[in-house]
């Protein structure tokens, strides 16, 4: 056991997105498994071992392979690194998107390469107190970007340096995801899109993280994404506070205020992450975003909600339900509910396959429309 723990402390590193539902495995803080204390981006050594020994199924491994052997093989290219200061990774995520499945007239299928990137992590000092993370790769441009744009699909997704002055307190500077709410991997989630904290909303700034005994605080000040034109950069700040309750659960609140020359965004939300044991979890977030444009129109307040539930019948398999709520203008009664059952499977370490079904229903006093359907079959590989 001692060997195993020591192993966890100095083996490999790698990537994955933030799986906030892993609070169901009693990991309340993202810092346990990620270099970024707010989750997302590269996994630290411990996170990789957990991915191999607790998250992924072991059904496809020979029976004689024990957990220690799985832990040893969780490093980059299945090897234990020869030094302790450099970690590398390669990461791919793509999915088959099918809209209106089964419709003879409107069915639309396409394969989307969502992410293909290389990551480099330098780390030094006791408990990796200094880290430098670079993440460069392919990511498709948002659909809203005109086709004749000069924007490249190859770009830096994040790059930052971090220094933990004490195990409890650290400062991080560079381009990172904004600190706000539950960082779920579904970038189409209303709770990520409405407050503008989705996968293309990284900003350059400085973040401070404090990890208390039963609480966690993050404060982020930023000057926008420096790769954008000056007038488009969202400058401002955000903060998130989380408190552990009943030993295994978390409640939290977030606030964001940012603006550029055309838009002012103020968002706040409350959330909870509940550990329902043996990998099962329930996540919920409810918030509002007020958007004020410079063209003189009235500010618009959106309301968003997220309810995500996970059940783990067997190691490596998670059944999930994703329920989302979105009201584009809280002064109006119209709202949308997106309901999605799904299944997530980690057959072996380094491989995740996931099937999500999305059924979207609009509610409006003056109209009734047919639901829209969509399903995603997602593949995620990492080395």
């Amino acid at each position: 056991m001692k060997t195993f723990i020591l192993l966890c402390l100095f083996i490999f590193s790698l990537s994955a997105h933030a799986y906030t539902n892993f609070i169901g495995h009693s990991y309340t803080s993202c810092l346990n498994c990620h270099f970024n204390p707010f989750g997302g981006g590269p996994l630290n050594d411990y996170g990789r071992v957990i991915s191999a020994t607790a998250i992924s199924s072991r059904a496809l491994y020979p029976k004689e392979w024990d957990e220690e052997k799985l832990a040893y093989s969780s490093g980059f290219l299945f090897r234990k690194p020869k030094q302790n200061w450099l970690r590398t990774q390669a990461n791919y995520r793509g999915f088959q998107l099918v809209r209106n499945p089964g419709s003879t007239t409107t069915e639309e299928k396409r394969w989307i390469n969502m992410q293909a990137d290389a990551r480099l992590i330098l780390k030094f000092g006791e408990n990796d107190k200094f880290v430098a993370v670079a993440n460069y790769g392919y990511a498709p441009l948002p659909i809203a970007v005109p086709e004749d744009t000069n924007e490249s699909e190859w770009r830096s997704r994040e790059h930052y340096v971090g220094y933990r002055f004490t195990p409890k307190f650290g400062i991080y500077a560079g381009m990172m995801d904004q600190i706000f709410g539950i960082r779920v991997i579904e970038h189409i989630a209303f709770s990520r899109i409405s407050p503008q904290v989705a996968q293309n909303d990284q900003v350059h700034g400085v973040a401070a993280h404090y990890l208390g005994d039963s609480w966690e605080l993050g404060v982020h000040g930023y000057g926008g994404n420096m790769s954008q034109k000056e007038d488009l950069r969202m400058k401002g700040g955000s903060a998130m506070f989380e408190k552990t309750i009943f030993e295994h659960h978390r409640i939290g609140a977030s606030f964001k205020n940012a603006s550029n020359d055309y838009l002012k965004v103020m968002a706040y939300s409350a959330h909870t992450r509940l550990n329902l044991k043996e990998g099962s979890a329930l996540l919920a977030e409810l918030g509002q975003t007020t958007k004020e444009t410079e063209n003189g129109s009235d500010p618009l307040t959106e309301r968003f909600g997220l309810l995500q539930t996970y059940l783990r019948p067997f190691r490596g398999v998670y059944f999930l339900t994703n329920i989302e709520y979105f009201n584009r203008d809280i002064k109006q009664d119209d709202y949308t509910v997106r309901w999605g059952p799904g299944v997530q499977y980690f057959p072996i370490q380094r491989l995740e396959v996931r099937l999500d079904l999305y059924n979207t229903r609009s509610f409006a006093p003056e109209s009734s429309t047919r639901d829209t359907w969509m399903y995603l079959f997602q593949t995620h590989l990492w080395l």
Binding site: R361, E366, S368, T369, R370
Partner: protein, 346 residues
């Protein structure tokens, strides 16, 4: 004459016994445990030597004849160590301090055999019963004796843990009657058709939302839950035409809807908090009165008010309270039903 008859009989008995002994030893040497056991069973009252009894006991355990082994070991204890045994039992009853060194190792091994044999018998049970309870009582006695004699304590602890876990498993396997009530926020869609005597038909879509109040009853063990659930639907919805070719804009708001949803379901319990995932096959009966447009040329066909659904549901348990989500699709129709709510088990 009588003396000679007695002598012949004695000779015959002794010869048979010697032959049996030889046969038993030969079978043992050939690792033919079945034969050792058969020889013992054919002649259990024979005056076996202590060594033979040990070999027979080993063979019985190898063949998983634990009850016979228990009888044999108890006989050995009473025959060879009656005084020690009685003294030890009395000392334990009185709560005296036991000196483990005062008891022979051979007796401790016999106790160990009794302890492990009772353990194996308990592990062999697939259902809880009075017999399990009785065997467990003896298991606990020998566990206590071994603990007081400080004999193979580590191994005994492991066996104790395994037996506790197995008894828990047997208890958990028992199906128990369960009921609960549930209130859900629900939404469901329905199709209808507006028909014109000369201009044809146009589809209508009704989007309802409301509450469903009801509960479930069924049987549940540690792993599975089989039940029937049902709830009364109350809500309202908006209606629109989805085809514009017949009527420009047929629209109604807040049309009251009433009905019920009921059917069988089964679920798999996946965590120690008793959270679960399952499927249901309910029927949904929903009626609402859509207004026919003015003019006798129009007629509204709402189809059958009963539909069959296939739905998936998940439940997150917080002791007696639970949170539940449900997502269902009408069979052979495009519409869906979904709901989420809270419930309480009785």
């Amino acid at each position: 004459m009588v003396v000679s008859k007695i002598l012949v009989t004695l000779f015959f008995i002794i010869s048979t016994a010697i032959a049996a002994e030889n046969e038993l030893m030969s079978a043992w040497k050939a690792k033919n445990y079945r034969k050792v056991s058969d020889l013992y069973r054919d002649n259990p009252r024979q005056d076996y030597s202590r060594k033979e009894l040990v070999l027979i006991s080993y063979s019985l355990r190898k063949l998983r004849f634990f009850r016979q082994d228990i009888k044999l070991n108890m006989a050995l204890v009473k025959k060879e160590y009656a005084k020690n045994h009685n003294y030890l039992l009395n000392a334990i009853k009185r709560g005296d301090t036991i000196d483990p060194d005062a008891y022979p190792v051979a007796l401790k091994i016999l106790y160990w055999n009794l302890f492990t044999s009772y353990g194996e018998i308990i592990k062999g049970y697939e259902h809880d019963s009075k017999r399990v309870e009785k065997d467990h009582k003896y298991f606990v006695i020998f566990s206590k004796i071994l603990s007081d004699l400080e004999f193979r304590e580590g191994k005994a602890d492991k066996i104790n843990d395994a037996i506790i876990a197995h008894r828990q498993y047997l208890t958990d396997k028992i199906y128990r009657f369960k009921t609960s009530w549930l209130v859900q926020y629900v939404s469901w869609q329905q199709d209808a058709t507006i028909k014109h005597t000369t201009q044809g038909n146009a589809g209508l879509i009704v989007t309802n939302r409301g509450v469903c109040l009801g509960g479930d009853m069924g049987i549940e063990n540690y792993r599975y839950h089989f039940y029937i659930d049902g709830c009364f639907l109350y809500g309202s919805g908006g209606v629109n035409n989805i085809d514009q070719n017949l009527i420009d804009n047929y629209q109604q708001s807040n049309v009251p809807a009433l009905g019920f949803k009921a059917g069988p379901g089964a679920s798999l319990i996946v965590s120690s908090s008793r959270s679960r995932i399952g499927i249901k096959l309910p029927v949904i009966y929903s009626v609402q009165d859509l207004t026919t447009p003015q003019g006798s040329d129009y007629k509204i066909d709402q189809g059958t008010p009963i539909s069959l659904l296939a739905s998936m549901y998940s439940r997150w348990q917080f002791n007696k309270l639970y949170f539940q989500t449900e997502f269902g699709k009408y069979l052979q129709q495009e519409q869906t039903f979904w709901g989420f709510g809270v419930g309480k088990e009785f």
